[in-house]
Amino acid sequence: MNRLLSDPRLLFPAALVLGGAYMLLMDSGSVFAVTDILIWVLFAASLNLLISFGGMVSFGHAAFFGLGAYGLALAIFRFNLPLPLAVAAGLITTLAGATIYGALCVRLTRIYFSMLTLACAEITFSTIFQWYDFTGGDTGLPRFVEPRLGLSAQHFGLVVLVVVLAGLLLLWRVIRSPLGLAIQAVGENPARARALGINTRAVQFAAFVVAAMMAGVAGMLMALFYGNVFPDYASLTFSIDVLIMVVLGGLHSFSGGIVGAVVYKLIDHLVSKHLMLWQMAIGVVLLMVIIFAPDGVVGIAKRLKTKLFGEARP
């Protein structure tokens, strides 16, 4: 049973069927909430690839979320391109950003890498924020398209589900591929990887681009979901939120980013009614998790499981 569930060939179709049923059967309110979570799941999973497997902590992952969203929105709003071409434009914009930033960032390691990603993201944010004539500046491009392309909540939710699952599957495949193994080798110990003849920079660059592209896809989904784009998509707040999700979920496992996004959004939802104290609530949870359960929610679950069902077989 266990093995069956951890096998992607069964897991993903199962998630598709269950999720699809959920999307089609539930009321719009719940579908909206789950759609929003799914988009963050893909965003967080993409950062998780970079952090948990590549050992690269990006402070500026939202840059690509923003680039994807704006690439798509501008293609539609400024150039009246049809959706497929706009999607291509979003991907190309993200790819361009990822190539430039990635080439620069992978030259650095650890905190210097993080700081450079921060600088790159802030440059992206500032450019979007200040380029009024083109990007619409701080007020963005509200309603550049009908929210959800005019689809019903349920149908759009289904589209998001399919895209997000496909994205996750792709990330999963990347991690299991030779490239993924190289990424992990570099992430664990760059010196040893170099000694094994791996071109560490090339591998890190590849990981950076893959993660960025998935973040771009998430950004495009968000843009279409609300029919709006705003500079906030590329903001430090978004970068930090997604970083928190990954840590909250737990490092060093594929599900960390996914679980983290879900848990973060749930906490956010639960405390959102306590208007004055939601930040403190998230702060306290973060402190608790890092001090008492540094391997995150996934780690807690693993330990619980070991306790309940005995030692897990590797």
């Binding site: 009321d27 309110g29 789950v34 509200p142 309603r143 609300y226 705003f230 679980v259």
Partner: protein, 409 residues
């Protein structure tokens, strides 16, 4: 193994989220408040919420709307547009609110407005004032209860045009939409009225700047007659305090956005003679019920004075209230119809919404800072009221602006 946790969590999430969609009871009217509680807009929002609460409580005490109580459901947009869209969607689809109010920042207002449009539910704004919400992106369920930013820029220009000594102007505008639009439209209108006036320099501090000294010296270097500062809240306080130490107020004049909260924040540090424009300074209001409101408000809020945001929230609710009564319905089209048809006698005098852009034909208050014995903080004196009708873009212009925005696509 991961998989099981994942599915479990997703299921849990679904249950938790759907659980909030409790059954509808026909009784209360639900008013969704999308408020920018955390973030730059926090202070303005807090006053606005106080004003709204006072109005809702009074209305409920008097039996509510059409015999139905009013429930407010408040959410924090965190001053982030995507979050604003998200909570609006939640309020409309899960909580099934009947109307929405609240946003402060232009960007959040626009994102909330886009979602409200989709549901055709009334959205009224009392803090956020970007004209994009009423004109370019206007829609039949949007109601702007104050002079929008464009009208305000024109009003400021009308006032400036009447100051014969103001010939050479430097502008300091926060580097975002409100700053840029106001500087641009102010200049445009002023040039029409007074071709002899020159705007010699535009300076653009970034949003969130705390050190204005370089901007002050750069402005003073031009030896202007007046400096127009399109800033609000913290930025205005920083600018005024820092300008003082350069002897700014001995060398030139300042003309800026000065709602009551900013004047209170500056208090003792506010130099006399600063020219300011505001949306609803209670001490300058000539309409009905002002004195009673101030008393009630202070009693409910530990003696705090109501600022423009509190007044506007209260006054706008009164206006909607009257429209609901007149329409005998809370349906958006009917309420909008009533808003456009009826004149409301509020604190800002007789006021009425214009149908084409859903904008109140509302005044702007402009004056000079002075001190009077009634209030422990500086107030605008010799207040000129620039009537909304005088600065509103005509219906033709609105149509043209909408067409231009559509063509720019």
């Amino acid at each position: 193994m991961h998989a099981r946790i994942l599915t479990g969590l997703l299921m849990g999430a679904a249950l938790a989220l759907s659980g909030t969609a409790h059954a509808q009871s026909a009784a209360p009217v639900k008013l969704g408040v999308v408020a920018d509680i955390s973030g730059v807009c926090g202070p303005l929002t807090k006053s606005g919420l106080n004003g709204l609460k006072l109005a809702v409580d009074e209305t409920n005490a008097a039996g509510g709307w059409l015999g139905r109580k009013i429930d407010t459901i408040t959410r924090d947009s965190k001053t982030q547009p995507p979050e604003g869209a998200k909570v609006t969607q939640e309020l409309l689809s899960v909580e099934k609110v009947d109307m929405i109010t609240g946003p402060c920042s232009s960007a959040v207002l626009l994102s909330v407005s886009a979602t409200a449009k989709e549901y055709g539910k009334l959205l009224w704004s009392t803090i956020g004032s970007t004209q994009r919400a009423s004109i370019e992106l206007g829609h039949p369920s949007f109601f702007q209860a104050q002079a929008n930013a464009l009208m305000e820029a024109y009003a400021a220009a009308e006032y400036a045009a009447k100051q014969p000594g103001w010939k050479k102007i430097v502008t300091i505008g926060l580097d975002y939409e409100w700053g840029h639009m106001t500087v641009e439209k102010f200049t445009e209108r002023l040039k029409q009225r007074r071709p002899d006036v020159q705007v010699v320099k535009n300076l653009w501090p970034k949003l969130g700047e705390t050190n204005f000294s370089s901007f002050v010296t750069a402005a003073l270097a031009e030896k202007p007659d007046v400096v127009l500062s399109v800033t609000f809240g913290a930025a205005t306080v920083n600018l005024v305090k820092q300008a003082k130490s350069y002897g700014f107020f001995e060398q030139t004049k300042l003309f800026t956005f000065l709602p009551v909260d900013t004047a209170i924040a500056l208090s003792g540090d506010m130099p006399e003679g600063v020219h300011g424009f505001a949306r609803a300074p209670f001490y300058a209001l000539k309409g009905t019920g002002v004195k009673e409101f101030v008393e009630k408000y202070r009693k409910a809020n530990n003696g705090e004075w109501p600022d423009d945001w509190a007044v506007l929230a209260y006054d706008a609710f009164g206006q909607v209230s009257a429209a609901v009564k007149a329409a005998k319905s809370i349906d958006t089209p009917k309420v909008m119809e009533a808003l456009a048809a009826n004149t409301y006698k509020g604190m800002r005098g007789d006021i009425k919404m214009r149908k084409i852009d859903g904008n109140d034909i509302a005044p702007t208050y402009v004056g000079v800072i002075g001190r009077v014995k009634d209030y422990p903080f500086p107030v605008l004196t010799n207040v000129t009221i620039i009537e909304g009708a005088q600065v509103m873009p005509s219906e033709d212009e609105v149509t043209k602006m909408r067409a231009a925005a559509a063509a720019k696509k």
